[in-house]
C-alpha cells in the first residue's frame, strides 16, 4: 500500500497525541534510549578528544623522527650521595656512532635545564633548551614575531634567545621583548624571537615534548659556553642537597629518511646504544609507533564503548517493546473499532509502529541534546578536551530510530493480527 507524505504526517500527529496523553509513562519508557544515546555521544566525544590531543602531540614530534632521551635512573638517585657528581645520558660518542646509521638523515641534539629567567625584577622558571637552528623545523615550532637563531649565531655562540609565549607574558606583559635582554643564571641573552603559542598542554607534558610556551631556545654552543655540561637539580635543603649531574645531551632528534625504515632504524639505534651504555639511561621514542598505539587503543575503546552502547540501546528497546505491548492490550477495543470502520492490517501496523518510533526518536533527540551537553560540562569542569563528531550524533540518532522500528514491529504486528471481533468484545 502506498502511503503519501501528507497521510504519513497525519499518522505521526495522531501518534504523537497518543504519546503526549501519557507524558510521564512515555518519558520513563524512553529513558533507556536517552541514556544509551547520550552515553554514546558523550563517551565518543571524550575518547575522540583525548585521542585528538594525543595525536596532535605525537604528530608535533614528527612521524618521521625518532627521539632519544636521556633518562636518569632511580637507582642512581639512591646510591648517589648529595652534591656528588652523577653521570648519565647521551654523549658525543653516541652522537658520532648514531650518525653512521645510513637511514639517519640528521641528528639534532638538545641540552636542557630548568632555570629562572629574569628581566627587570620579574622572573619565571623556564626550560632552557640549547639546540641547533634545525630544531625549529623538526619540532614544528612556529615563530610569532622575530626569528629563530641561525647557523652563524650557532657558530659564534651568540647569546641570543627565543622565548615561549608564557615566558613572554610573564616577563614582558606590555613591552615588545624583541631586542630586550633577559638574564639566566649570571649570563645575559638578547631576545630575538617569540615562539607561537601551542594550544595543547597538560597531557602533552607527560609525554616527551617540552611545553613550548615556557621554553627558552638558545644555540647549543652558547649553552656550552655559559653553562657547560652540568645539570643542577635543586633539592629541598640548602646547596648541600643539590644534585649535580654531568649530562652531555638530554635529547637527540633523529630524522629518518623514509617512514618505512623507522622501525628498523629504531632497533639499530637500540643495538648501537646498548653497546656503550651499561645501564639503560636512555629512552627511544618512536612517534609513529606511539601514533599506531594510540589508534589501536582508540579502536579498542570504541569496541568496548560500542558494546556498552549496544546493550543499553537493546535494554531501551526492550523497554519500548514492553510498553508497546501494554498499549496494544490497553487499546484492543480501539483496534477492533478501527478495523470495523475499514482500517487494514497495514494501517494498524503503521499506527503502532509510528508510536514506537516516535517514542524512540524522542528518546534519541533528548539523548542527543544530553550527549552534546555532557562533554561541555566535562570540558568545563575536568579540563579535558572533548570532540563531538557529527557522525556520532547522526549514528546514535539513526540507531535510536532503528531501535523503535525493531522493537516496535512485534507489538504492531500483534495489534494488526488481532481478530476484529475478539478485539471489539474486549473489555
Amino acid at each position: 500500500m502506498k502511503i503519501n507524505l501528507i497521510h504519513l504526517i497525519r499518522i505521526v500527529r495522531h501518534g504523537w497525541k497518543n504519546i503526549w496523553l501519557h507524558k510521564l509513562r512515555s518519558f520513563l519508557t524512553v529513558l533507556g534510549i536517552v541514556f544509551g544515546v547520550a552515553s554514546v555521544i558523550a563517551m565518543l566525544a571524550i575518547g575522540e578528544g583525548a585521542s585528538y590531543e594525543a595525536r596532535k602531540m605525537i604528530e608535533s614530534l614528527g612521524s618521521n623522527n625518532i627521539i632519544i632521551r636521556s633518562v636518569k635512573l632511580p637507582s642512581d638517585a639512591k646510591t648517589q650521595q648529595a652534591s656528588t657528581l652523577g653521570v648519565y645520558g647521551l654523549t658525543d660518542r653516541d652522537f658520532r656512532k648514531l650518525e653512521t646509521i645510513p637511514s639517519v638523515v640528521k641528528i639534532i641534539p638538545a641540552w636542557e635545564m630548568e632555570e629562572d629567567v629574569w628581566c627587570y625584577g620579574k622572573t619565571i622558571s623556564a626550560r632552557i633548551i640549547g639546540t641547533l637552528p634545525e630544531y625549529k623545523d623538526v619540532m614544528n615550532l612556529s615563530i610569532k614575531t622575530g626569528r629563530y637563531f641561525d647557523e652563524v649565531e650557532l657558530q659564534k655562540s651568540e647569546p641570543v634567545a627565543i622565548i615561549g609565549s608564557t615566558v613572554r607574558t610573564s616577563l614582558f606583559p606590555v613591552e615588545d621583548p624583541i631586542g630586550k635582554t633577559i638574564k639566566i643564571k649570571s649570563s645575559y641573552f638578547k631576545v630575538i624571537g617569540i615562539a607561537g603559542e601551542k594550544v595543547f598542554a597538560g597531557a602533552s607534558e607527560s609525554f616527551m615534548a617540552e611545553d613550548a610556551n615556557i621554553a627558552v631556545y638558545i644555540p647549543l654552543t652558547t649553552t656550552r659556553l655559559f653553562f657547560g655540561e652540568y645539570e643542577v637539580k635543586r633539592g629541598p635543603g640548602g646547596v648541600s642537597s643539590w644534585e649535580r649531574n654531568w649530562v652531555q645531551y638530554h635529547r637527540f632528534i633523529l630524522q629518518v629518511a623514509e617512514t618505512d625504515k623507522i622501525l628498523t632504524t629504531a632497533s639499530l639505534i637500540s643495538d648501537v646504544l646498548s653497546q656503550t651504555h651499561k645501564k639503560q639511561d636512555y629512552q627511544i621514542i618512536v612517534p609513529l609507533e606511539l601514533l599506531r598505539q594510540a589508534e589501536k587503543t582508540k579502536r579498542i575503546f570504541n569496541i568496548v564503548l560500542g558494546s556498552i552502547a549496544a546493550i543499553s540501546l537493546i535494554v531501551g528497546g526492550i523497554g519500548i517493546m514492553n510498553i508497546m505491548l501494554a498499549i496494544v492490550t490497553e487499546r484492543t477495543r480501539e483496534i477492533g473499532i478501527r478495523r470495523a470502520v475499514g482500517a487494514k492490517k497495514r494501517d494498524i501496523i503503521n499506527q503502532f509502529l509510528t508510536e514506537s518510533v516516535i517514542l524512540s526518536a524522542s528518546g534519541g533527540i533528548i539523548g542527543v541534546l544530553l550527549g552534546i551537553l555532557i562533554p561541555r560540562i566535562v570540558t568545563k569542569f575536568a579540563g579535558m578536551m572533548t570532540l563531538i563528531t557529527p557522525w556520532s550524533v547522526l549514528l546514535s540518532f539513526t540507531i535510536s530510530v532503528a531501535v523503535g522500528i525493531t522493537f516496535g514491529i512485534y507489538p504492531a504486528r500483534k495489534a494488526a493480527d488481532l481478530d476484529p471481533i475478539q478485539a471489539l468484545r474486549y473489555e
Binding site: I6, R10, G336, I337, R339, V341, A343, K345
Partner: protein
C-alpha cells in the same frame, strides 16, 4: 441463479463454526440462506445466543464464514482476503454497536472523522463533512467533547454520524438501542429510519419487538438458523 442487481446481500447455506481447543466445535450458524435487497430495512430478532451478532458481523465483512457462499452486491466475497474485506468495510458499510464503541481519547469530531482517515481523504474535506454530520445528529455544540462527557443517546448519535462518514450503502446496527432509555431509543431509530428512507439499506439486530416494528421485514433467528421469515 438470478443475479438480481437490486440485491445487496445473498447468503447461500452459510455456516460458522468456532473451534475451541482440539475437538470442541461450536456451530453458531448452521446453514443460513437469505437475501436482502437494496434499500430494505430488515430487523433480525431472536433469543440471546442464537447467532444474530455473528450473522451481522459476517454481513459486515468483519467475520469469516466456515462454509457456504456470501454475495455482496452480486460479487462472491467468500474467499476475499483481509485487505479486500477491509476495503469493503471502508467504502460500503457503516457499523453501529450496542456499546457505541467510540474511542475514548478522541474528541467527538475526531471519532466521526475516523473512517475517512483510512481512505486518506483530504483533511479539510473530512472535517467539513464531519461537522455537517454532527449537525445532522444534533451534536454541533459537542464536537470538542470526549465521549465520556456525553449521555448514552448522544454517544450513539456520534456513532451514527461516524457510520455515515463514508456514505455507506449498508448500515448494520447491533442492538443500537439496547443501552438506551425508550426516548433516546426512539430518537436513534428515527435517525436510522430517516437514512433508510433516503435509500440506505439498514439491518438492525434487536430483541425489542417495538424496535423491530420499524423494519419492513423481520428475520427470526433460532439456534443458528433463520426460523421463519415474515
Amino acid at each position: 441463479m438470478n443475479q438480481n442487481n437490486n440485491q445487496i446481500i445473498r447468503f447461500e447455506e452459510i455456516t460458522k463454526v468456532y473451534h475451541l481447543g482440539k475437538d470442541i466445535d461450536i456451530p453458531v450458524l448452521r446453514g443460513v440462506s437469505c437475501e436482502i435487497k437494496k434499500g430494505e430495512h430488515v430487523a433480525i430478532m431472536g433469543p440471546s445466543g442464537s447467532g444474530k451478532t455473528t450473522m451481522l458481523n459476517i454481513i459486515g465483512c468483519l467475520d469469516k464464514i466456515s462454509s457456504g457462499k456470501y454475495f455482496f452486491e452480486g460479487k462472491d466475497i467468500s474467499s476475499f482476503d483481509d485487505d479486500a474485506l477491509s476495503e469493503i468495510r471502508s467504502k460500503k458499510i457503516g457499523f453501529i454497536f450496542q456499546s457505541y464503541n467510540l474511542i475514548p481519547q478522541l474528541t467527538v469530531l475526531e471519532n466521526i472523522e475516523m473512517p475517512l482517515f483510512y481512505q486518506q481523504v483530504d483533511e479539510a474535506k473530512t472535517r467539513e463533512k464531519a461537522i455537517k454530520l454532527a449537525h445532522m445528529v444534533g451534536l454541533e455544540d459537542r464536537i470538542k467533547h470526549r465521549p465520556s462527557e456525553l449521555s448514552g443517546g448522544q454517544q450513539q448519535r456520534v456513532a451514527i454520524a461516524r457510520a455515515l462518514m463514508n456514505d455507506p450503502v449498508l448500515i448494520l446496527a447491533d442492538e443500537p438501542t439496547g443501552n438506551l432509555d425508550s426516548v433516546s431509543g426512539k430518537e436513534i431509530m428515527n435517525l436510522l429510519c430517516g437514512l433508510n428512507e433516503k435509500g440506505t439499506t439498514l439491518i438492525v439486530v434487536t430483541h425489542d419487538a417495538n424496535i423491530a416494528k420499524y423494519a419492513g421485514r423481520v428475520l427470526k433467528m433460532l439456534d443458528g438458523r433463520i426460523a421463519n421469515e415474515n
